[in-house]
Amino acid sequence: MAEVTTEEKKETQPGTGSLSVDALEAEDVLAGAEEWSSTETWLVLGSFIAAIIALFIGLLVVPTSVLH
């Protein structure tokens, strides 16, 4: 087994992790919005349509739904 370096030991110390909220580059996370793409439209609509189908089936099948 390879020798564990001091840096690796530090990383595996409980509680440390290698990241904390204080070490963030917030701009990086919040800025730079990409153009809206057709894949996103497809993903969002697909999800809503799946929800409507699941709702319809659910209301019919689930015995405690308002339809029963």
């Binding site: 996370v29 919005a33 990409e34 799946a50």
Partner: protein, 531 residues
């Protein structure tokens, strides 16, 4: 041995909180079943009861009886021994639960010394709060306050202790930050609640057994009700999530102009299961982990704000005691993180049961735990569903958006993201159901002596252990919640995305869907069977 071995399906069984919640709760559950053979090894679990400084003559509430070992009431084989424990049950519980948790902490490579120190403080603080919260002035209702010689009580039931635990935790977390940091090694609300949720599985399985003691029909009704919650919860959760996620995604992208990955992680973080979803989605869309960590830091604070507001709102504004399970299920879909949701469900359970008892002057009493179960059921489903949704997102991101040459998404991701504590929850529930329908003969009168031995084991786990772990959760949630986080500049508009999406979209949709699937579900009335 290679330093970076293959991740196997069983990797993490001894090193993650999820699995340790299973080992600890299922372990105590299995030990409790020894009662069937006349060996009671769980009757020491401590439980509080209401008390007053000066109990009336012939009335209730002596301080010396404020904590007792549950075996005193329920044990079949060792009642005498457990009766003698009294307050010592607090120490027994500390040593035995503390040892079990410390073994887990050691396997997870935490700092054991700090864990033991932190846990000791958190445990005894919990006991002190539990004790204070059970002063009859806080916990009694106007129906039973006279037994304690009181003419006025706050009508909070067991909810008073939970609120106190949260308040004390928040004071530590916001005003004594050095102390909170010291306690942080043991302030693990999600680990405690996952353990408590597994014991909630024991509660669900035990419910028909409990009600069979009143009448066989009532037992069957309870079994049916829990199954209905299981099915309705699944349908409601899938529908809700598939509406929540794209909704928040569009709000984040179109209104707040956030980048794709941040919007995706926020979509999951705000939608239902908070931190675990934020981590799962962050990984799925290959975001830098800081995105998940930032969203998570927000989630935990907003979740506690929901925990403070929603139980009272659902109990006293809408839907009240008319539709307690609509309230419970909606709670499960609206409140982020398992810990805050289960805690909010438990608070709702206490508030609703107390309210119905007062409204009907004691003519209606509901069994405890069903409303909590309705709040946890939707959450458990979403915890499972997020693994599948994260897989779908990974496919979209890796194969559609980013298209790195040669990259592929392993199907094993679905298993690695599966919330393992859910296995323990279902195992305990179905194991007890099997006992109920099998040797328990569906609660037939001739099987009652046998079921009584099962009860002797199940009650300490589903009542004593579960409530203790809920209390630990409330206190720990408070300790790790720092409201100042909301003011930190780095979160910027994410705070507002969260606020708008949560109150303008998530909570209303959760209520509507909760209503569509749970409206009209009723709880069994056990008033006539209670003393």
């Amino acid at each position: 041995m290679a330093q970076y071995p293959e991740r196997k399906w069983y990797s993490g069984m001894l090193s993650t909180e999820d699995w340790w919640a299973v080992w600890i709760a299922v372990g105590f559950f299995m030990i409790s079943l020894l009662n069937i053979w006349g060996i009671d090894l769980v009757g020491w679990m401590t439980y509080p009861t209401k008390w007053v400084f000066n109990p009336p003559e012939g009335g209730k509430g002596a301080i010396s009886q404020a904590f007792y070992a549950l075996g005193k009431k329920y044990s079949v084989s060792a009642k005498g021994f457990y009766k003698g424990l009294g307050w010592w049950s607090v120490i027994w519980s500390y040593v035995i639960f503390g040892t079990a948790l410390t073994i887990g902490a050691a396997f997870m490579k935490w700092n054991v010394k700090r864990f033991v120190g932190g846990f000791t403080i958190i445990y005894f603080l919990t006991i002190a709060i539990w004790f204070i919260g059970h002063h009859a002035f806080i916990a009694a209702t106007k129906v039973n306050m006279h037994k304690y010689g009181l003419n006025f009580a706050l009508n909070l039931g067991g909810g008073g202790s939970f609120i106190l635990a949260l308040i004390v935790g928040l004071i530590i977390g916001n005003f004594f930050k050095g102390f909170a940091k010291y306690l942080s090694e043991a302030a693990k609300p999600e680990w405690y609640i996952k353990t408590a949720i597994v014991t909630l599985g024991v509660k669900l399985g035990y419910l028909p057994i409990k009600l069979s003691a009143f009448s066989q029909k009532l037992g069957k009704q309870a079994a049916d009700l829990t199954f209905d919650l299981f099915v309705a919860g699944a349908a409601a959760t899938v529908v809700a999530y598939l509406i929540f996620w794209p909704g928040v995604y569009v709000i984040s992208r179109k209104i707040f102009k956030l980048p794709r990955k941040t919007a995706a992680v926020l979509g999951s973080g705000i939608s239902i299961c908070g931190v675990s979803a934020a981590v799962a989605t962050g990984g799925a869309v290959r975001a830098k982990p800081v995105v998940s960590i930032m969203v998570s830091a927000l989630v935990v604070v907003w979740a506690v704000i929901e925990l403070i507001i929603l139980p009272g709102f659902f109990t006293h504004v809408w839907p009240g005691t008319k539709d307690p399970l609509v309230a419970g299920a909606s709670m499960g879909m609206a409140v982020k993180t398992d810990g805050a949701d289960a805690a909010a469900g438990e608070l709702l359970d206490e508030f609703m049961r107390t309210k119905i008892e007062i409204e009907t002057n004691g003519a209606v009493k509901w069994p405890e735990g069903i409303i909590t179960a309705s709040a946890v059921m939707t959450k458990v489903w979403i915890d499972m569903f997020i693994g599948i949704w994260a897989f779908v997102l990974a496919l979209v991101w890796v194969y559609k958006f980013e298209r790195r040459p040669g990259e592929r998404v392993p199907a094993s991701e679905v298993w690695h993201r599966f919330p393992k504590f859910v296995i323990g929850y279902f195992f305990c529930w179905f194991f007890l159901l099997a006992i109920y329908f099998g040797p328990g003969q569906g609660g037939a009168p001739e099987a009652m002596p046998f079921l009584k031995t099962v009860k002797a084991g199940a009650v300490p786990v589903e009542k004593g252990m579960r409530k203790l772990f809920f209390m630990l959760t409330f206190l720990s949630l408070g300790i790790i919640t720092d409201f100042k986080k909301l003011k930190e500049a780095q979160f910027g508009k994410m705070v507002w995305v969260y606020f708008v999406a949560l109150f303008g979209f998530i909570i209303p949709v959760a209520i509507i869907i909760g209503y569509l699937f749970h409206h009209g579900m009723t709880l069994p009335n056990i008033a006539q069977y209670m003393k």
